[in-house]
């Protein structure tokens, strides 16, 4: 792990443990490689009462390189049904790909995901869900997403 990555993550973790944005909780952050946070959409939304888990995987280039962010899909958590979230948990969001900026943080990503879910109008999977999930690489960072929806 790069020393800058480690130090920045240590700082982010300290800030998160002091004050997490509303609806966001740390599930596990035992190292500087993989973190899990739970997110909940506050207020009126299609996801009322549902709790999701986001998984962050960092590499040594963080924050210059984006973290690998997915919704956890296992026996405890399910990926939200959303036009930009594939059933394997991969997320099609520009800030996790080409629009990543090193000033963004774990908290910023969580909040963006919250607002992405909050603004959802219809519970549905992406149109190419089955095809994508069947052939998806393990890391969504190896997928070249096309960001065609600016409304979210």
């Amino acid at each position: 792990m790069g020393s800058i990555a480690t130090r920045r993550l240590a700082k982010e973790l300290r800030e998160l443990s002091l004050e997490c944005p509303t609806g966001i909780k740390i599930l596990s952050a035992n190292d500087f490689h993989t973190w899990r946070l739970s997110i909940e959409v506050m207020g009126d939304s299609l996801y009322q009462g549902q709790v999701f888990a986001l998984q962050f995987i960092f590499d040594a280039q963080y924050p210059i390189a984006s973290p690998e962010v997915t919704f956890v899909s296992d026996e405890h958590y399910k990926a939200p049904i959303h036009p930009h979230v594939y059933s394997n948990g991969h997320i099609c969001a520009s800030i996790l790909g080409t629009e990543w900026s090193p000033i963004l943080s774990v908290a910023a990503v969580c909040v963006t995901m919250q607002s992405m879910l909050a603004s959802c109008k219809k519970l549905e999977r992406p149109p190419d869900n089955d095809r994508y999930v069947r052939h998806a690489p393990k890391s969504p960072k190896n997928t070249r997403f096309v960001y065609d929806d600016d409304t979210v």
């Binding site: 040594a60 280039q61 390189a65 393990k138 890391s139 190896n142």
Partner: protein, 354 residues
């Protein structure tokens, strides 16, 4: 004082209980690495980052990480004033922290005491006893801070004759010279010259600039490196370029490329420092960087081919069966390549290939 390693500078922002002080403290930190600015630089939009952080970010994407306005490495400029502010802030920080803690301690003591006072004499006045003792400690602290700062020969004192402020060390010559400010300048110059002569005799330089402290290089003497056009360079050229910089030439092409790339980032950012580090120090940093990148790569989950085969044996068998059963009419409908390819190239393997 000036060039502390970044991990020492990197103190916890939560040290300040006061929110505003915490914000001031954070405003002197790089939005990318969240440590105090190391050679603060900005591009056309004016957003400031560490020299290394901004260079690395621009090498990935040529835009300001904050406002996304187009930005180029060549348009990067030093934020000298901010660096000076940062140095002063770091000096003042400890004093502020001590003051804050003292006041917090006083306040909690006071609360206890004022509670007992109130129980004895209920008609205590409104101003309350809480404000005075705290402010006296503030004054005391300030005084102490002042007296420690007044070392060296720059302490000013009031001349008993002309009431002007004069450097204390030359006050006698000042009065002897008839309180003439022009005369003072000459005295200062002379005393400095004398000092320099003495120090040259004793081998102790009074001026910091004359002999840079170990690990630092005199600013203004270093030159920046151009970035290589790595995509068209051959291994031979890469090796020569690395050799010219005194860097190791081992490893694969990609390793050499990224080594040289990172060296240019580290070195050029070092040139931007107010007090650049020595070449050897930057080389050490590069070495450390390379080690970290390598260890991070190794951490990626490795797929054991044998294990994988065992784990998916039933899937493979099924597929083989599938294909065999179709074989007779293969001329009619060939198996879809996807169905076959999927389990053979599992997600794990694909991600490693990438």
């Amino acid at each position: 004082m000036v060039d502390l390693p970044r991990n020492i500078q990197d103190t916890d922002p939560e040290d300040f209980a006061n929110e505003l002080l915490r914000k001031v403290d954070n405003s002197l930190k790089c939005p990318i690495c969240k440590a105090y600015f190391d050679a603060a630089m900005y591009s056309d939009c004016g957003h400031t980052f560490c020299a290394v952080c901004l260079r690395e970010s621009l090498s990935v994407k040529q835009e300001c990480p904050i406002c996304r306005k187009p930005a180029k490495e060549l348009s990067m400029k030093k934020n000298i004033m901010l660096e000076d502010t940062l140095i002063l802030w770091q000096q003042a920080r400890d004093t502020l922290l001590t003051l804050e803690r003292l006041e917090a301690a006083k306040a909690s003591k006071k609360r206890k005491r004022s509670a007992s006072i109130q129980s004895i004499e209920s008609d205590s006045n409104e101003a309350g006893p809480s404000s005075r003792p705290a402010s006296t400690t503030v004054k005391k602290m300030k005084k102490r801070a002042e007296s420690t700062q007044k070392t060296g020969d720059s302490t000013m004192t009031e001349c008993p004759m002309c009431q002007n402020l004069v450097v204390e060390a030359i006050i006698n010559q000042h009065i002897d010279g008839g309180c003439n400010p022009e005369n003072d300048k000459k005295i200062t110059r002379d005393s400095q010259r004398a000092k320099d002569q003495w120090s040259s005799v004793f081998g102790k330089s009074a001026k910091r600039k004359a002999t840079p402290v170990k690990g630092e290089t005199e600013p203004g003497t270093l030159e920046k490196l151009p970035r290589g056009s790595y995509d068209i360079l051959k291994d031979k050229d890469l090796r020569r370029m690395l050799k010219e910089e005194g860097l190791p030439t081992d490893g694969e092409t990609e390793a050499m490329k990224s080594r040289h790339k990172q060296w240019v980032i580290f070195w050029n950012s070092n040139v931007d420092r107010k007090f650049p580090k020595s070449r050897e120090t930057v080389k050490e940093e590069l070495k450390k960087w390379e080690r970290e990148m390598a260890s991070s790569r190794r951490k990626r989950p490795q797929v054991n081919a044998v294990e994988h085969l065992k784990h998916h044996k039933t899937d493979f068998d099924k597929l083989v069966q599938n294909v065999r059963s179709r074989k007779p009419k293969s001329s009619a409908a060939a198996p879809s390549p996807n169905e076959v390819a999927e389990p053979v190239a599992p997600p794990d393997v694909m991600s490693i290939d990438d």
